[in-house]
Amino acid sequence: MAEEKKSAVLETLVGKFGDDIVSTHSDFGDDTALVRRERIVEICTFLRDDPGLRFDFAMDLTGVDYLGEEPRFEVVYHLYSLEKKHRVRIKTRVPEEDPVIDSVIPVWAGMDWYEREAYDMYGIVFRNHPNLKRILMYESFVGHPLRKDYPKAKRQPTIGPDE
Protein backbone atom coordinates (compact mmCIF):
# COMPACT_ATOMS: atom_id res chain seq x y z
CA MET A 1 0.00 0.00 0.00
CA ALA A 2 1.22 3.45 -0.81
CA GLU A 3 2.16 5.82 1.98
CA GLU A 4 -1.16 6.55 3.61
CA LYS A 5 -1.86 10.04 4.75
CA LYS A 6 -2.13 9.97 8.53
CA SER A 7 -4.90 11.79 10.32
CA ALA A 8 -4.00 14.83 12.40
CA VAL A 9 -4.41 12.92 15.64
CA LEU A 10 -2.10 10.09 14.66
CA GLU A 11 0.41 12.50 13.17
CA THR A 12 0.62 14.43 16.41
CA LEU A 13 1.01 11.21 18.32
CA VAL A 14 3.76 9.80 16.12
CA GLY A 15 5.51 13.17 16.03
CA LYS A 16 5.66 13.22 19.81
CA PHE A 17 6.47 9.62 20.65
CA GLY A 18 8.16 8.29 17.49
CA ASP A 19 9.28 4.71 17.93
CA ASP A 20 7.02 4.07 20.92
CA ILE A 21 4.15 4.00 18.45
CA VAL A 22 4.58 0.57 16.90
CA SER A 23 2.10 1.01 14.06
CA THR A 24 -0.94 3.04 13.06
CA HIS A 25 -3.83 2.72 10.68
CA SER A 26 -7.08 4.50 9.92
CA ASP A 27 -9.20 1.69 8.50
CA PHE A 28 -12.79 2.75 7.84
CA GLY A 29 -12.00 6.11 9.37
CA ASP A 30 -11.12 4.75 12.81
CA ASP A 31 -7.76 6.10 13.92
CA THR A 32 -5.84 3.34 15.63
CA ALA A 33 -2.38 3.28 17.17
CA LEU A 34 -0.55 0.25 18.50
CA VAL A 35 1.79 1.49 21.20
CA ARG A 36 4.43 0.00 23.52
CA ARG A 37 3.01 -0.83 26.90
CA GLU A 38 5.92 0.68 28.87
CA ARG A 39 4.87 4.22 27.95
CA ILE A 40 1.09 3.87 28.08
CA VAL A 41 0.62 6.35 30.95
CA GLU A 42 2.77 9.01 29.28
CA ILE A 43 0.97 8.56 25.98
CA CYS A 44 -2.42 8.76 27.64
CA THR A 45 -1.45 11.84 29.62
CA PHE A 46 -0.30 13.49 26.40
CA LEU A 47 -3.54 12.54 24.62
CA ARG A 48 -5.53 14.11 27.41
CA ASP A 49 -3.52 17.29 27.89
CA ASP A 50 -2.31 18.26 24.42
CA PRO A 51 -4.31 21.34 23.36
CA GLY A 52 -4.83 19.94 19.86
CA LEU A 53 -6.04 16.52 21.04
CA ARG A 54 -7.89 16.91 24.35
CA PHE A 55 -9.07 13.33 24.76
CA ASP A 56 -10.98 14.02 27.95
CA PHE A 57 -13.45 11.16 27.74
CA ALA A 58 -12.19 7.58 28.18
CA MET A 59 -15.07 5.65 26.68
CA ASP A 60 -13.93 2.08 27.05
CA LEU A 61 -11.13 -0.22 28.04
CA THR A 62 -11.17 -3.88 27.22
CA GLY A 63 -8.91 -6.89 26.95
CA VAL A 64 -8.48 -9.26 24.02
CA ASP A 65 -7.01 -12.75 24.10
CA TYR A 66 -5.14 -13.70 20.92
CA LEU A 67 -4.38 -17.24 21.98
CA GLY A 68 -1.39 -18.63 20.05
CA GLU A 69 0.06 -15.22 19.19
CA GLU A 70 2.95 -13.60 20.92
CA PRO A 71 2.44 -11.38 22.89
CA ARG A 72 -0.84 -13.02 23.76
CA PHE A 73 -3.06 -10.32 25.27
CA GLU A 74 -4.09 -6.91 24.04
CA VAL A 75 -5.52 -3.98 25.97
CA VAL A 76 -7.66 -1.61 23.92
CA TYR A 77 -8.50 1.97 24.91
CA HIS A 78 -11.29 3.87 23.18
CA LEU A 79 -10.96 7.60 23.64
CA TYR A 80 -13.15 10.52 22.66
CA SER A 81 -12.75 14.26 22.88
CA LEU A 82 -15.87 16.09 23.94
CA GLU A 83 -14.22 19.34 22.94
CA LYS A 84 -12.74 18.40 19.54
CA LYS A 85 -15.32 15.74 18.71
CA HIS A 86 -12.79 13.17 17.51
CA ARG A 87 -11.93 9.64 18.51
CA VAL A 88 -8.87 7.44 18.70
CA ARG A 89 -8.27 3.81 19.54
CA ILE A 90 -5.09 2.91 21.40
CA LYS A 91 -3.97 -0.70 21.49
CA THR A 92 -1.12 -2.26 23.38
CA ARG A 93 0.07 -5.85 23.62
CA VAL A 94 0.77 -7.64 26.90
CA PRO A 95 2.67 -10.97 27.07
CA GLU A 96 1.21 -13.97 28.87
CA GLU A 97 4.17 -14.64 31.20
CA ASP A 98 4.15 -11.03 32.45
CA PRO A 99 0.59 -9.69 31.96
CA VAL A 100 1.24 -6.36 33.66
CA ILE A 101 0.50 -2.86 32.43
CA ASP A 102 0.41 0.48 34.19
CA SER A 103 -3.00 1.65 35.31
CA VAL A 104 -4.35 4.78 33.59
CA ILE A 105 -6.49 5.75 36.57
CA PRO A 106 -4.16 8.73 37.26
CA VAL A 107 -5.13 9.99 33.79
CA TRP A 108 -8.81 9.06 33.70
CA ALA A 109 -10.30 8.09 37.07
CA GLY A 110 -13.26 6.52 35.28
CA MET A 111 -11.10 3.67 34.00
CA ASP A 112 -11.25 2.05 37.46
CA TRP A 113 -13.99 -0.50 36.84
CA TYR A 114 -12.92 -1.20 33.25
CA GLU A 115 -9.50 -2.22 34.47
CA ARG A 116 -11.03 -4.38 37.16
CA GLU A 117 -13.17 -6.06 34.53
CA ALA A 118 -10.16 -6.73 32.30
CA TYR A 119 -8.36 -8.14 35.31
CA ASP A 120 -11.33 -10.29 36.28
CA MET A 121 -11.96 -11.69 32.82
CA TYR A 122 -8.42 -11.94 31.38
CA GLY A 123 -6.04 -11.76 34.32
CA ILE A 124 -4.30 -8.65 33.05
CA VAL A 125 -2.74 -6.93 36.05
CA PHE A 126 -2.90 -3.14 36.18
CA ARG A 127 0.01 -1.80 38.17
CA ASN A 128 -0.76 0.98 40.68
CA HIS A 129 -4.50 0.27 40.55
CA PRO A 130 -5.87 1.27 43.99
CA ASN A 131 -8.39 -1.58 44.26
CA LEU A 132 -7.58 -4.33 41.80
CA LYS A 133 -10.00 -7.13 42.70
CA ARG A 134 -12.70 -9.03 40.86
CA ILE A 135 -15.69 -6.99 39.80
CA LEU A 136 -18.06 -9.45 38.11
CA MET A 137 -17.08 -12.84 39.50
CA TYR A 138 -16.98 -13.69 43.19
CA GLU A 139 -13.76 -13.62 45.17
CA SER A 140 -13.39 -17.39 45.49
CA PHE A 141 -13.64 -17.91 41.72
CA VAL A 142 -10.49 -19.52 40.31
CA GLY A 143 -9.15 -18.48 36.91
CA HIS A 144 -10.16 -15.91 34.33
CA PRO A 145 -13.22 -17.03 32.38
CA LEU A 146 -12.85 -15.07 29.14
CA ARG A 147 -9.40 -16.45 28.40
CA LYS A 148 -9.66 -18.65 25.34
CA ASP A 149 -8.10 -21.59 27.18
CA TYR A 150 -10.59 -21.48 30.08
CA PRO A 151 -12.49 -24.79 29.80
CA LYS A 152 -16.00 -24.12 28.52
CA ALA A 153 -17.59 -26.88 30.57
CA LYS A 154 -15.73 -26.12 33.79
CA ARG A 155 -17.98 -25.54 36.80
CA GLN A 156 -16.87 -24.17 40.12
CA PRO A 157 -18.39 -24.95 43.54
CA THR A 158 -21.51 -23.02 44.51
CA ILE A 159 -20.65 -20.30 46.98
CA GLY A 160 -22.20 -19.75 50.39
CA PRO A 161 -24.02 -16.59 51.41
CA ASP A 162 -21.01 -14.88 52.93
CA GLU A 163 -18.53 -15.15 50.06
Binding site: L136, M137, Y138, F141, P145, Y150, K152, A153, K154, R155, Q156, T158, I159, G160, P161, D162, E163
Partner: protein, 290 residues
Protein backbone atom coordinates in the same frame (compact mmCIF):
# COMPACT_ATOMS: atom_id res chain seq x y z
CA UNK B 1 -76.84 -9.33 80.71
CA UNK B 2 -79.88 -11.57 81.22
CA UNK B 3 -82.00 -8.50 81.04
CA UNK B 4 -80.38 -7.62 77.70
CA UNK B 5 -80.91 -11.10 76.25
CA UNK B 6 -84.53 -11.23 77.31
CA UNK B 7 -85.06 -7.81 75.81
CA UNK B 8 -84.08 -9.04 72.32
CA UNK B 9 -87.05 -9.33 70.10
CA UNK B 10 -86.34 -12.30 67.83
CA UNK B 11 -89.00 -11.18 65.50
CA UNK B 12 -87.27 -7.83 65.09
CA UNK B 13 -86.21 -7.49 61.44
CA UNK B 14 -82.84 -6.12 62.59
CA UNK B 15 -82.09 -9.28 64.53
CA UNK B 16 -80.83 -11.03 61.38
CA UNK B 17 -78.51 -8.09 60.72
CA UNK B 18 -77.10 -8.47 64.22
CA UNK B 19 -76.63 -12.18 63.65
CA UNK B 20 -74.85 -11.54 60.37
CA UNK B 21 -72.60 -8.99 62.03
CA UNK B 22 -71.62 -11.43 64.77
CA UNK B 23 -70.83 -14.17 62.25
CA UNK B 24 -68.87 -11.83 59.98
CA UNK B 25 -66.74 -10.36 62.75
CA UNK B 26 -66.32 -13.79 64.31
CA UNK B 27 -65.00 -15.25 61.08
CA UNK B 28 -62.66 -12.37 60.38
CA UNK B 29 -61.15 -12.38 63.85
CA UNK B 30 -61.27 -16.16 64.15
CA UNK B 31 -59.26 -16.81 61.01
CA UNK B 32 -56.52 -14.48 62.11
CA UNK B 33 -55.97 -16.54 65.26
CA UNK B 34 -56.63 -19.84 63.48
CA UNK B 35 -53.85 -19.27 60.96
CA UNK B 36 -51.55 -18.28 63.79
CA UNK B 37 -52.41 -21.46 65.69
CA UNK B 38 -52.48 -23.94 62.81
CA UNK B 39 -49.63 -22.76 60.58
CA UNK B 40 -46.48 -24.86 60.81
CA UNK B 41 -43.54 -22.93 62.17
CA UNK B 42 -39.89 -23.69 61.70
CA UNK B 43 -37.56 -21.14 63.15
CA UNK B 44 -33.84 -21.05 62.54
CA UNK B 45 -31.05 -18.51 62.31
CA UNK B 46 -31.83 -17.46 58.75
CA UNK B 47 -35.55 -17.07 59.48
CA UNK B 48 -34.72 -14.71 62.30
CA UNK B 49 -32.26 -12.62 60.32
CA UNK B 50 -33.46 -9.07 59.86
CA UNK B 51 -32.75 -8.50 56.18
CA UNK B 52 -35.00 -9.91 53.51
CA UNK B 53 -33.01 -9.11 50.39
CA UNK B 54 -30.93 -12.27 50.61
CA UNK B 55 -27.61 -10.71 51.53
CA UNK B 56 -25.99 -9.53 54.71
CA UNK B 57 -25.70 -5.81 55.22
CA UNK B 58 -22.24 -4.56 54.32
CA UNK B 59 -22.10 -2.12 57.19
CA UNK B 60 -24.05 -1.87 60.40
CA UNK B 61 -27.16 0.23 59.98
CA UNK B 62 -26.91 1.51 63.54
CA UNK B 63 -23.48 3.07 63.22
CA UNK B 64 -23.52 5.67 60.52
CA UNK B 65 -26.75 7.52 61.13
CA UNK B 66 -26.17 10.79 62.94
CA UNK B 67 -27.94 11.49 66.24
CA UNK B 68 -29.26 14.68 64.69
CA UNK B 69 -31.38 12.57 62.37
CA UNK B 70 -33.26 11.00 65.26
CA UNK B 71 -33.62 14.31 67.05
CA UNK B 72 -35.17 15.89 64.00
CA UNK B 73 -37.51 12.93 63.59
CA UNK B 74 -38.55 13.14 67.25
CA UNK B 75 -39.16 16.85 67.01
CA UNK B 76 -41.31 16.38 63.95
CA UNK B 77 -43.56 13.91 65.77
CA UNK B 78 -43.64 16.19 68.78
CA UNK B 79 -44.78 19.20 66.82
CA UNK B 80 -47.30 17.18 64.84
CA UNK B 81 -48.81 15.95 68.07
CA UNK B 82 -48.91 19.41 69.57
CA UNK B 83 -50.45 21.06 66.56
CA UNK B 84 -53.17 18.41 66.44
CA UNK B 85 -54.24 19.48 69.92
CA UNK B 86 -53.59 23.15 69.36
CA UNK B 87 -56.14 23.54 66.59
CA UNK B 88 -59.28 22.66 68.61
CA UNK B 89 -57.87 24.59 71.52
CA UNK B 90 -57.37 27.67 69.36
CA UNK B 91 -60.93 27.42 68.04
CA UNK B 92 -62.37 27.38 71.57
CA UNK B 93 -59.80 29.79 73.02
CA UNK B 94 -62.24 32.53 73.97
CA UNK B 95 -64.69 30.19 75.69
CA UNK B 96 -61.99 28.41 77.70
CA UNK B 97 -60.50 31.57 79.09
CA UNK B 98 -57.55 31.53 81.50
CA UNK B 99 -58.14 27.92 82.48
CA UNK B 100 -57.65 26.81 78.88
CA UNK B 101 -54.54 28.89 78.52
CA UNK B 102 -52.85 27.45 81.62
CA UNK B 103 -53.94 23.91 80.73
CA UNK B 104 -52.43 24.21 77.27
CA UNK B 105 -49.24 25.76 78.67
CA UNK B 106 -48.78 22.73 80.94
CA UNK B 107 -49.47 20.37 78.04
CA UNK B 108 -46.91 22.04 75.78
CA UNK B 109 -44.43 22.04 78.63
CA UNK B 110 -44.77 18.31 79.18
CA UNK B 111 -44.42 17.49 75.50
CA UNK B 112 -41.49 19.84 75.11
CA UNK B 113 -39.56 18.23 77.91
CA UNK B 114 -36.79 15.92 76.74
CA UNK B 115 -37.97 12.42 76.00
CA UNK B 116 -36.38 9.36 77.51
CA UNK B 117 -35.45 6.82 74.94
CA UNK B 118 -35.60 3.31 76.27
CA UNK B 119 -32.79 1.04 75.28
CA UNK B 120 -33.27 -2.38 73.86
CA UNK B 121 -36.99 -2.36 74.49
CA UNK B 122 -37.98 -4.20 71.36
CA UNK B 123 -35.74 -7.22 71.36
CA UNK B 124 -36.67 -10.28 69.39
CA UNK B 125 -37.39 -13.38 71.43
CA UNK B 126 -34.94 -15.49 69.51
CA UNK B 127 -34.80 -18.17 72.18
CA UNK B 128 -38.48 -18.80 71.62
CA UNK B 129 -37.56 -21.02 68.68
CA UNK B 130 -39.48 -24.24 68.52
CA UNK B 131 -39.73 -27.17 66.21
CA UNK B 132 -42.31 -27.92 63.54
CA UNK B 133 -45.91 -28.50 64.54
CA UNK B 134 -46.55 -31.90 66.18
CA UNK B 135 -48.30 -34.47 64.04
CA UNK B 136 -51.48 -34.84 66.09
CA UNK B 137 -53.70 -33.48 63.35
CA UNK B 138 -55.99 -36.01 61.81
CA UNK B 139 -55.98 -36.79 58.12
CA UNK B 140 -59.36 -35.18 57.57
CA UNK B 141 -58.15 -32.04 59.19
CA UNK B 142 -55.02 -32.02 57.00
CA UNK B 143 -57.28 -32.29 53.99
CA UNK B 144 -59.27 -29.30 55.19
CA UNK B 145 -56.08 -27.31 55.62
CA UNK B 146 -54.88 -28.32 52.16
CA UNK B 147 -58.18 -27.18 50.74
CA UNK B 148 -57.69 -23.83 52.42
CA UNK B 149 -54.13 -23.48 51.20
CA UNK B 150 -55.10 -24.45 47.69
CA UNK B 151 -56.85 -21.18 47.06
CA UNK B 152 -54.60 -18.92 49.06
CA UNK B 153 -51.17 -19.38 47.51
CA UNK B 154 -49.03 -16.31 48.08
CA UNK B 155 -46.40 -16.03 45.35
CA UNK B 156 -43.01 -14.42 45.76
CA UNK B 157 -41.61 -13.48 42.38
CA UNK B 158 -37.87 -13.77 41.94
CA UNK B 159 -37.68 -12.30 38.44
CA UNK B 160 -34.18 -11.92 37.07
CA UNK B 161 -34.74 -11.97 33.32
CA UNK B 162 -37.30 -11.83 30.51
CA UNK B 163 -39.55 -14.41 32.22
CA UNK B 164 -40.42 -11.63 34.65
CA UNK B 165 -42.35 -9.86 31.90
CA UNK B 166 -44.51 -12.95 31.44
CA UNK B 167 -45.08 -13.06 35.18
CA UNK B 168 -46.40 -9.52 35.04
CA UNK B 169 -48.66 -10.56 32.20
CA UNK B 170 -49.97 -13.48 34.22
CA UNK B 171 -50.87 -11.26 37.16
CA UNK B 172 -52.40 -8.61 34.93
CA UNK B 173 -56.02 -8.29 33.93
CA UNK B 174 -55.84 -10.31 30.74
CA UNK B 175 -54.68 -13.62 32.21
CA UNK B 176 -55.66 -12.74 35.79
CA UNK B 177 -53.98 -15.32 37.98
CA UNK B 178 -56.25 -14.24 40.84
CA UNK B 179 -58.93 -16.47 39.36
CA UNK B 180 -56.87 -19.37 40.69
CA UNK B 181 -56.34 -18.02 44.17
CA UNK B 182 -52.72 -16.93 43.76
CA UNK B 183 -53.65 -13.32 43.72
CA UNK B 184 -51.61 -11.49 46.27
CA UNK B 185 -47.96 -11.17 45.31
CA UNK B 186 -45.73 -10.70 48.32
CA UNK B 187 -42.38 -9.01 48.07
CA UNK B 188 -41.33 -10.17 51.48
CA UNK B 189 -40.37 -13.85 51.73
CA UNK B 190 -41.87 -14.03 55.22
CA UNK B 191 -45.35 -13.53 53.80
CA UNK B 192 -45.10 -15.85 50.80
CA UNK B 193 -45.25 -19.59 50.29
CA UNK B 194 -44.66 -19.99 46.54
CA UNK B 195 -41.26 -19.03 45.19
CA UNK B 196 -41.56 -18.24 41.50
CA UNK B 197 -38.04 -18.15 40.09
CA UNK B 198 -38.41 -16.46 36.71
CA UNK B 199 -35.13 -16.04 34.92
CA UNK B 200 -31.45 -16.76 34.83
CA UNK B 201 -29.75 -17.34 38.16
CA UNK B 202 -25.98 -17.02 38.15
CA UNK B 203 -23.56 -18.34 40.72
CA UNK B 204 -23.26 -14.99 42.42
CA UNK B 205 -27.03 -14.78 42.84
CA UNK B 206 -27.42 -18.39 44.01
CA UNK B 207 -26.76 -17.78 47.74
CA UNK B 208 -29.22 -14.86 47.69
CA UNK B 209 -31.93 -17.06 46.22
CA UNK B 210 -31.14 -19.82 48.70
CA UNK B 211 -31.48 -17.50 51.66
CA UNK B 212 -34.75 -16.02 50.44
CA UNK B 213 -36.10 -19.55 50.07
CA UNK B 214 -35.03 -20.33 53.62
CA UNK B 215 -36.85 -17.28 54.93
CA UNK B 216 -40.17 -18.20 53.36
CA UNK B 217 -43.18 -19.57 55.19
CA UNK B 218 -43.79 -23.28 55.67
CA UNK B 219 -45.08 -25.15 53.77
CA UNK B 220 -43.56 -23.67 50.64
CA UNK B 221 -43.36 -24.53 46.98
CA UNK B 222 -40.77 -23.65 44.37
CA UNK B 223 -41.54 -23.09 40.71
CA UNK B 224 -38.68 -23.00 38.22
CA UNK B 225 -39.98 -20.91 35.36
CA UNK B 226 -38.32 -21.03 31.97
CA UNK B 227 -35.35 -22.81 30.50
CA UNK B 228 -32.79 -20.83 32.52
CA UNK B 229 -34.24 -21.48 35.97
CA UNK B 230 -34.93 -25.11 35.06
CA UNK B 231 -31.60 -26.01 33.49
CA UNK B 232 -29.44 -22.97 32.84
CA UNK B 233 -30.94 -22.70 29.37
CA UNK B 234 -28.52 -21.80 26.63
CA UNK B 235 -26.24 -20.13 29.17
CA UNK B 236 -24.02 -23.17 29.35
CA UNK B 237 -21.09 -21.21 30.73
CA UNK B 238 -18.92 -20.38 33.70
CA UNK B 239 -21.25 -17.94 35.45
CA UNK B 240 -24.77 -19.37 35.30
CA UNK B 241 -26.24 -21.90 37.71
CA UNK B 242 -27.28 -24.91 35.65
CA UNK B 243 -30.82 -25.04 37.03
CA UNK B 244 -32.03 -23.89 40.43
CA UNK B 245 -32.62 -27.51 41.44
CA UNK B 246 -28.90 -27.57 42.15
CA UNK B 247 -29.64 -25.58 45.31
CA UNK B 248 -33.42 -25.70 45.89
CA UNK B 249 -36.12 -28.38 45.92
CA UNK B 250 -38.22 -27.59 42.85
CA UNK B 251 -41.86 -28.68 42.77
CA UNK B 252 -42.92 -27.54 39.33
CA UNK B 253 -40.91 -26.76 36.20
CA UNK B 254 -42.37 -24.57 33.48
CA UNK B 255 -40.67 -25.19 30.12
CA UNK B 256 -40.29 -22.40 27.59
CA UNK B 257 -38.07 -19.48 26.77
CA UNK B 258 -39.91 -17.63 28.08
CA UNK B 259 -43.08 -19.61 28.89
CA UNK B 260 -46.32 -17.78 28.23
CA UNK B 261 -48.61 -16.71 31.10
CA UNK B 262 -50.73 -19.83 30.62
CA UNK B 263 -47.65 -21.75 31.74
CA UNK B 264 -47.67 -19.91 35.08
CA UNK B 265 -51.39 -20.59 35.51
CA UNK B 266 -50.67 -24.23 34.74
CA UNK B 267 -47.96 -24.30 37.41
CA UNK B 268 -50.31 -22.86 40.03
CA UNK B 269 -52.94 -25.43 39.10
CA UNK B 270 -50.29 -28.15 39.33
CA UNK B 271 -49.46 -27.04 42.88
CA UNK B 272 -53.16 -27.07 43.72
CA UNK B 273 -53.31 -30.64 42.41
CA UNK B 274 -50.33 -31.55 44.60
CA UNK B 275 -52.21 -30.19 47.58
CA UNK B 276 -55.37 -32.01 46.57
CA UNK B 277 -53.69 -35.39 46.34
CA UNK B 278 -51.54 -34.81 49.40
CA UNK B 279 -48.40 -35.59 47.43
CA UNK B 280 -45.18 -34.74 49.30
CA UNK B 281 -43.56 -31.46 48.46
CA UNK B 282 -40.17 -31.49 46.80
CA UNK B 283 -38.66 -30.17 50.04
CA UNK B 284 -39.75 -33.31 51.87
CA UNK B 285 -37.72 -35.58 49.61
CA UNK B 286 -34.94 -33.11 49.13
CA UNK B 287 -31.67 -34.90 49.75
CA UNK B 288 -29.11 -32.16 49.34
CA UNK B 289 -28.15 -30.01 52.32
CA UNK B 290 -26.03 -26.98 51.70
Amino acid sequence: MANFVSSIQFSDPYFSVLLLLIIAVGMAVGFVFLSQALGPKKYDRIKYSVYECGVDPITSASVRVSVKFYLVALLFILFDLESAFLYPWAVLYRDLGWFGFVEMAVFVGILGAPLRVEEGGARMAVNRAKDGAPGFLTTRFEALLAWGRKYSIYPFTFATACCGIEVMGAFGTHYDLSRFGAEVVRFSPRQADMLLVAGTVNYKMAPVLKRIHDQMLEPKWVVAMGACAASGGFYNNYSVLQGIDKILPVDVYIPGCPPNPEGIIDAVVAIQKLLETGAPRAAERWPIKI
